[in-house]
């Protein structure tokens, strides 16, 4: 155990999987050089959830900081490019929009582009706002080239993420971490020992009888929270009143066509289905609310909707949306599913792991754990979870669907005041409420608002400057520039073939 005056020399990571190996890889690169030994305990007998096949652009920064070569990473994880997420049937049945990782148009004379689009759309001069987003056009046409560093270039207005095999990513990072000195201990933990005086975790005991001692423990044991909850009882804040889905089924199938550079989330009667195309296979899953649909019905729906032949048996997961009340308690830091769970609708699972690791590294208690470190980590992570929660709730609440009890409930449920305020400001002014520390920026909120029919009653008067003809010409020119730019790019499939071809493997 470690207190303020006791240095942290031994870090023990409990659990492998995406969270465990991301933590191990980061600590091996960033913390081990100061003389900290890192041990990761995992059992081959315990499966991993393989969280987060679809990611956010932040993952690139994580890999870059560790010095991971992108081409190598993509090849090893069968990764494809991700430019956004397509949402089908969310605002209404048969609606579709893409939440892009980039801006719509460009600010004109200090006024955000979407105000001009709102006017042009009202005057019949513009179609979908998607036509004015480079990443959306690239996604729809399945084309890709990396962003330009030149801020004047139209190709600078987007970023990208990856769709990858999370289990392979964990394996890739395992090799990276072990090469950097992380010791992997095979074994199943059967008991956890706490110091009688301080209550800190002192060691974990394996089935073999071996005890692994540590100064700081990272709980990556998944939903059960072996240390943070079972041992320390840090508590859990249940958010199922606003995010009621509590089950998921995952299954893989063959690709029937070249992979597209975006993830798809299709809403159904009592939940939604994901579709994540990788180089060698397709990841699929159905997230649903068990109060409205049985497991069998949910599984049937998923299997019926598969585009290719299934290559794995369906895996059933149960979860409760929410967050751990204390993600860092005593000498235990929870990372990943042991810290909380927000459904994968916006691919935030890996981002939240990454945020925890980033803050852990910044606050790493080398000289000993202090209450100030603990408080700060919990404050920062609580805010991360709350802001992601609001954005996810928006997807369910901003709907006109009334075709099932599930949609009637989420459409009419009470939502957090913070979200209600943001929605009201947008509906009444067209402005996106801004905060300093928000994961999702203006374009993300605009995408979901407009995509789900939260259309402002008003827009900036300055967007009324200029004649109808001038506006029409401007919109037309912008659309044309984007179209011409995108049409000149290589296809996503060609890009993958040329830059990061994965080994030909049998889909698992």
């Amino acid at each position: 155990m470690a207190r303020a005056d006791q240095p942290v020399d031994e870090v023990v990571i409990v659990g492998g999987g995406t969270a465990g190996w991301m933590t191990a890889a980061a600590l091996s690169k960033l913390i081990a050089p100061i003389g900290v030994r890192i041990t990761l305990i995992e059992s081959d007998a315990i499966g991993t959830v393989g969280v987060g096949e679809a990611t956010l652009p932040h993952l690139k920064f994580f890999n870059d900081r560790l010095g991971i070569n992108e081409t190598h990473f993509m090849a090893e994880t069968q990764a494809t490019i991700k430019l956004g997420i397509e949402f089908r049937n969310w605002g209404r049945k048969d609606d579709a929009y893409i939440h892009p990782f980039g801006d719509y148009g460009r600010e004109i004379a200090g006024v955000d582009f979407h105000h001009y689009w709102l006017r042009a759309h009202k005057e019949g001069l513009a179609g979908r706002i998607d036509d004015y987003s480079l990443p959306i056009q690239m996604a729809e046409k399945s084309r890709f080239s990396p962003p330009s560093p030149d801020p004047q270039s139209v190709m600078s207005a987007f970023s990208y993420a990856y769709q990858m095999d999370a289990t392979r990513y964990a394996g890739f990072l395992r090799r990276f971490a072990e090469a950097n000195g992380v010791f992997r201990q095979e074994g199943k933990i059967v008991s956890v020992h706490q110091d009688h005086e301080t209550g800190d975790i002192s060691s974990v005991e394996l089935k073999s009888g071996q005890k692994i001692e540590g100064d700081l423990f990272i709980d990556c044991s998944g939903f059960r929270g072996l240390l943070i909850e079972n041992a320390l009882q840090a508590g859990y804040e249940d958010w199922s009143d606003v995010l009621p889905c509590d089950r998921a089924i995952a299954v893989q199938c063959k690709n029937m066509e070249p992979p597209v550079p975006y993830t798809r989330a299709t809403a159904y009667q009592s939940g939604w289905q994901w579709r994540i195309p990788l180089q060698h296979r397709m990841g699929n899953g159905h997230v649903y609310c068990s109060a409205y649909i049985s497991d069998d019905e949910a599984a049937s729906l998923l299997m019926d909707n598969l585009e290719g032949k299934p290559t794995t048996d369906p895996r059933f997961l149960r979860f409760q949306t929410g967050r751990r009340r204390k993600q860092w308690d005593r000498n235990v830091i929870a990372v990943g599913l042991s810290a909380g769970f927000l459904e994968p609708l916006e691919s935030t699972s890996i981002y939240l792991i990454q945020a925890a690791i980033t803050n852990m590294v910044e606050l790493f208690p080398r000289q000993g754990v202090t209450q100030a470190d603990i408080d700060e980590f919990n404050d920062v992570m609580n805010l991360e979870y709350e802001r992601v929660r609001d954005f996810l709730v928006l997807h369910y609440h901003a709907t006109e669907r009334d075709d099932s009890p599930f949609w009637n409930d989420v459409r009419t449920m009470n939502i957090p005041d913070s979200l209600r305020y943001k929605m009201s400001v947008f509906e009444n002014t067209g402005e996106v409420v801004k905060y300093k520390d928000g994961l999702f920026l203006d374009a993300s909120w605009i995408a979901v608002y407009l995509g789900q029919r939260v259309v402002p009653h008003h827009f900036s008067s300055l967007a009324k400057n200029g004649s109808r003809e001038q506006l029409g010409t401007m919109m037309q020119n912008l659309k044309q520039i984007i179209t011409q730019t995108v049409d000149a790019l290589p296809s996503h499939a060609d890009y993958l073939r040329q830059h990061c071809p994965a080994a030909q493997v049998m889909a698992r």
């Binding site: 900081r65 200090g110 100030a372 009201s424 400001v425 002014t429 009653h457 008003h458 008067s461 400057n465």
Partner: protein, 469 residues
């Protein structure tokens, strides 16, 4: 109910903030056919003798297509790189706040942590010695940051200006953009009550309709107020002889009785604040409007927020207030929600600024017990003390770099530094820290003396030239 946007926007108070608002609004609204009227009032505040502007004012100057060299020329001004705070008895405790970072990040670790380790090993000079803006300011030098300075070329700057001349400059600018001055004043009983839906009648009997009324009188209202943690006091302004260090604002005295000295051409006016004193000039209440926009009236500047001059709240708030307002004008509907969002952003900024003044007071008065301190300030103090982490919140106007300089300068030394700063050997650390100092000094030495540069470029006239003229 929304009012017709064809009605003029009326600015109550021909004050500094009134003319600045008038210039920006006229530039924005005149092409749309909306008039901007400025109406003096009997109680409007006078222009400050002198003032300092933060870097964010440059954005407003750019919007108005104003050349800052011309502003400095017309307002007997100078360029400022920061503020020197000497608010304790011991002059050794003085420190400088600048608009730029200190040192450079190496191996993902900010300079602070390398400096903290080096300090323990007895290898360092004061933290500000490694801050290029501070190094230039101490030697009375100035140049805008440029690419040739490498990673050090990222600091910003503000201005020292004669307040009366700047107000007049802004008046001419506003009138150039089409703002109209109404010669007749508003009757003195017209706006002292609830201004939500005020009927504006001039002394000459004329009634003025408006779509939006901007209270820029510079006079604090008496309702809807929130109070800062620190008690208010009185202001005394006076002209004074010039001080050296043209690029530095100086804040001297004690935390409850201090003077802000602003170096202008030939003089350095002084603004003295005395907490809880029986004043004879201007009382600072240390309060702000919780809802500065109510009904069709928006209070800006000193009418909205009346904080003591420490860190210069007045000129820091104007860019925030006016930019937040300009984003919304002219209304095309949704006025209630524009109002709510404006109030949320500005009131939060006022509160955060008052907190930072309180933080400065706490640190400089060496208060050990922080029991009554608001939770957000306690978090700032604890985190910095714990490991040099600077916690910032939404709507804070003081940069993270500046807050770091404030806490360290006030004597709050972190208990620990980032463990990753232990990776370099002592020799490597020594080399890194000393090369940082060398680079800062080398760049500083290439920068011209500000006064010489201002005279050489004709922005200031020399004594000799003035005599000849």
């Amino acid at each position: 109910m929304n009012r017709p946007i064809s009605h003029p926007v009326v600015i109550l108070g021909a004050t500094l903030e009134g003319w600045l608002a008038a210039a920006l609004l006229a530039d924005r609204l005149k092409p749309l056919g909306i008039q901007v009227l400025v109406i003096p009032t009997w109680d409007q505040a006078e222009a400050p003798v002198a003032l300092t502007t933060p870097p964010s004012m440059s954005g407003l100057h750019q919007q108005l297509k104003l050349d800052e060299l011309d502003i400095v020329r017309a307002c007997d001004g100078s360029f400022r790189l920061g503020t020197k705070l000497s608010l304790t008895k011991d002059d050794q405790d003085s420190f400088i706040l600048t608009y730029g970072p200190t040192g450079e990040t190496r191996n993902g670790i900010t300079f602070l942590h390398h400096w903290l380790r080096a300090q323990r090993e007895g290898q360092v000079r004061p933290f500000s010695s490694y801050n290029l803006a501070a190094a230039m300011a101490v030697k009375s030098k100035f140049t805008p940051a440029h690419k040739d300075m490498g990673p050090y070329g990222v600091y910003e700057y503000g201005l020292h200006l004669d307040g009366r001349k700047y107000q007049d400059y802004l008046r001419r600018c506003a009138q150039h953009y089409g703002a109209m001055l109404i010669e007749s004043q508003v009757g003195n009983d017209q706006y002292t009550k609830n201004r939500t839906d005020l009927q504006l009648r001039l002394q000459n009997g004329e009634e003025i309709n408006y779509s939006l009324l901007i209270d820029a009188r510079g006079v604090q209202s008496l309702h809807d107020l929130k109070t800062a943690p620190l008690p208010g006091g009185d202001l005394f302004m006076r002209d004074a002889k010039p001080v050296g260090q043209l690029s530095l604002t100086r804040c001297e005295g004690s935390i409850d009785d201090y003077s802000v000295r602003i170096p202008l051409k030939k003089i350095s006016p002084s603004i003295r604040f005395q907490r809880n004193a029986e004043g004879d000039l201007e009382t600072i209440t240390n309060t702000w409007r919780e809802n500065p926009w109510s009904g069709h009236c928006v209070a800006i500047g000193r009418s909205a927020c009346d904080l003591e001059p420490l860190h210069d709240p007045f000129m820091n708030f104007l860019p925030l207030e006016l930019n937040t307002l300009l984003e919304r004008l002219p209304f095309s509907g949704g006025e209630e929600w524009h109002r709510r969002e404006y109030n949320r952003v500005t009131a939060s900024a006022y509160e955060r600024f008052a907190d930072l003044q309180c933080l400065t007071h706490l640190l400089l008065s060496k208060t050990e017990e922080h029991e009554d301190v608001p939770q957000n300030l306690r978090r700032k103090i604890n985190q910095f003390k714990n490991r040099g982490r600077v916690v910032t919140y939404d709507h804070e106007l003081m940069t993270q770099d500046m807050q770091l300089q404030l806490m360290l300068g006030s004597g709050l030394v972190p208990d620990r530094y980032d463990a990753l700063a232990d990776i370099p050997t002592s020799e490597q650390l020594k080399e890194y820290v000393s090369s940082t100092l060398k680079t800062v000094r080398m760049i500083r030495d290439q920068v011209p003396d500000q006064e010489e540069a201002l005279i050489k470029s004709g922005i200031w006239t020399s004594d000799k030239a003035e005599i000849q003229a």
